[in-house]
């Protein structure tokens, strides 16, 4: 499945367990290899069902640097297609989302249906017989598209060597916990807001940073101070033990942020909401969803945090855009979603009390990485004490770096063909 060409770097040696080479964060050649071997040939998050609920709905996004169009066609099928007219290459859609029955290229009037089929071309009589084969000139579809709980992934140029089910593995049950916060098991992604956040740093800094259990009490001093006073006891987990980071396989990982007792669940959430979840999912599943807060990364470009879907878009070796799509829970009392809005904007977003500190530090890290002869970035905290839990996940303490090491096993597999 390796891409043709690319650099001859020994990625197995550059992406060691516990140490990553600084060139992985700075080199334009490494970045090109990552696009070809990871972003264009493995499972990449593209959208959530709720963003395109009706036939004709579409959104535009990117896989790596490539513009793609995600549509729901008249047969209710999800299509992930390269947003590129087959004639001369213009994108056929340049708005972020909407509903259309056709996508018209502005250059020569070639029209494509929501399923990508080429419906008509401009001034067709100028073509002689055999010069244009309309049936073969539909938009280029991703090689593979699949979804889990409405979360849509695609692999662009080739089918991955593992199914989505294998790719997600043990992290599926963590996704289930998140979806169980809604009595219908459904969430609505992005309708309630999207923060669009560029930063001056390599994309992997955000992949690692989305599950950073070590930094919170140093970086987020101001936010934690307010949260401890205003929001109460559940934050003690940030400094106490009993919380873990997990490597669930294929680069995916989970960081537990807190686990509430039954009593704390009742303090935190209104009674009617707790009851609603109990009725929908049963006592155990409901309380497990309510008590657990975690950040999870689905390698390489996707994370789910308490109030958000986080999508990482690489722009170059040293520039990245992150989008934070707020999530609403379907079927819950208005006050629950309202709290999720206020809590989200307290910590995330460009004017918030948390996120901006992270992004300012990401830029400082990237600055430090200019010292190319200081070769190693350390992610080896807790590597010696790491254990394996009963489900087969690598496991370490919350503030150790098991979860941040997790991507590099998959990185080696995709970049070098070895784990």
């Amino acid at each position: 499945m390796n891409a043709p060409g690319g650099s001859k770097r020994n990625y197995a040696d550059l992406a060691r367990t516990g140490h990553t080479h600084v060139s992985l964060y700075t080199s334009p050649e490494v970045y090109q290899d990552e696009l070809e071997r990871i972003f264009y040939r493995s499972w990449i998050y593209v959208a959530h069902d709720s963003e395109i609920p009706n036939p004709g709905d579409y959104k535009t996004t990117f896989i790596g640097e490539i513009p793609v169009l995600v549509t729901r066609d008249q047969n209710d099928k999800i299509n992930v297609m390269i947003n590129r007219c087959m004639h001369r290459g213009s994108t056929v859609c340049n708005s972020e989302s909407g509903n259309k029955d056709k996508f018209v290229c502005p250059y020569h009037g070639w029209e494509y249906g929501p399923d990508g089929e080429l419906i008509t071309i401009g001034l067709p009589r100028g073509y002689n017989d055999g010069e244009v084969d309309q049936e073969k000139l539909g938009l280029v579809h991703a090689a593979k598209v699949d979804s889990y709980r409405g979360i849509i992934f695609a692999s662009l140029y080739e089918a991955p060597d593992i199914t989505l089910d294998e790719k997600l593995g043990n992290i599926k049950e963590v996704i289930d916990l998140y979806m169980n916060l809604s009595p219908t098991g459904k969430i609505i992604v992005g309708k309630s807001g999207v923060y669009k956040h560029p930063y001056d740093g390599n994309w992997k800094i955000q992949t690692e940073g989305s599950v950073e259990g070590y930094h919170a009490i140093f970086t987020h001093h101001t936010a934690l101070d307010v949260m401890a006073r205003k929001m109460g006891g559940h934050l003690k987990g940030l400094t106490n033990s009993g919380l873990h980071g997990y490597d669930t396989g294929h680069g995916n990982n989970v960081l537990e942020i807190y686990k509430l007792s039954d009593e704390e669940v009742h303090q935190r959430w209104p009674k009617d909401y707790v009851e609603m979840l109990r009725e929908a999912h049963g006592e155990t599943a409901a309380m497990d969803a309510l008590r657990s807060r975690f950040n999870m990364v689905i390698f390489p470009n996707f994370a789910i945090l308490e109030y958000q879907f986080r999508v990482i878009r690489p722009l170059s070796a040293t520039e990245t855009e992150v989008r934070l799509y707020h999530t609403l829970l379907d079927g819950v009392p208005k006050e629950v979603n309202l709290r999720r809005i206020r809590d989200h904007e307290f910590f995330y977003g460009q004017a918030s009390f948390g996120g901006p500190d992270d992004y300012s530090i990401f830029a400082r890290m990237q600055e430090g990485y200019k010292a190319g002869e200081v070769p190693w970035v350390h992610l080896n905290r807790g590597v010696e004490s790491e254990t394996v839990d009963e489900k087969g996940n690598r496991m370490g303490d919350l503030t150790q770096e098991t979860q941040q090491r997790a991507p590099y096993y998959e990185y080696r597999r995709l970049m070098a063909g070895v784990e």
Binding site: V194, K196, Y199, A223, E345, Q350, A351, S360, R364
Partner: protein, 161 residues
Amino acid sequence: MERSEAENFLYREARLLNTGKNREWQKLFTSDAIYWVPANDPDADPEEHVSYIYDDMDLLEERLGRLESDYCWAQQPPSSTLHQISNVEVENDTDEEVTLRSNVLIYEYRNNVQRRFYPLQTFPAFCEHRLRKEGDEWKIAFKKVALLNCDGEIHDLTFLI
């Protein structure tokens, strides 16, 4: 309220922001005020949509405390701002309440960034102030700043807007 009086009020607010007198600026607000900077859509309902800032006065107090602390990494070095006010209009004028609409062009700059040529940033915005009379003084009961690029890619808005 005459437009000249409205302008004087807004100019004074801008001067407090631009000279770092955050605590004097805070005193311009009523105790039940809202300070709002919408995200994505300036007309979205803030109870159904996330904002950049949706502060009641408790949260504004925390925001100012954060800016004063040694741990607000996103404000190291701190922003300097210049709020340029124009297009002032006075609406719904009564003796007790008045709505002011204005345009503001906020310039934001940070001196002494070691590593980069920090670009001078500009944030054009539509402002709405709802003022209420408290005693002899007009106070801000509601301030909304709708950035022209509120749906765009933005690096940082940790300064006062």
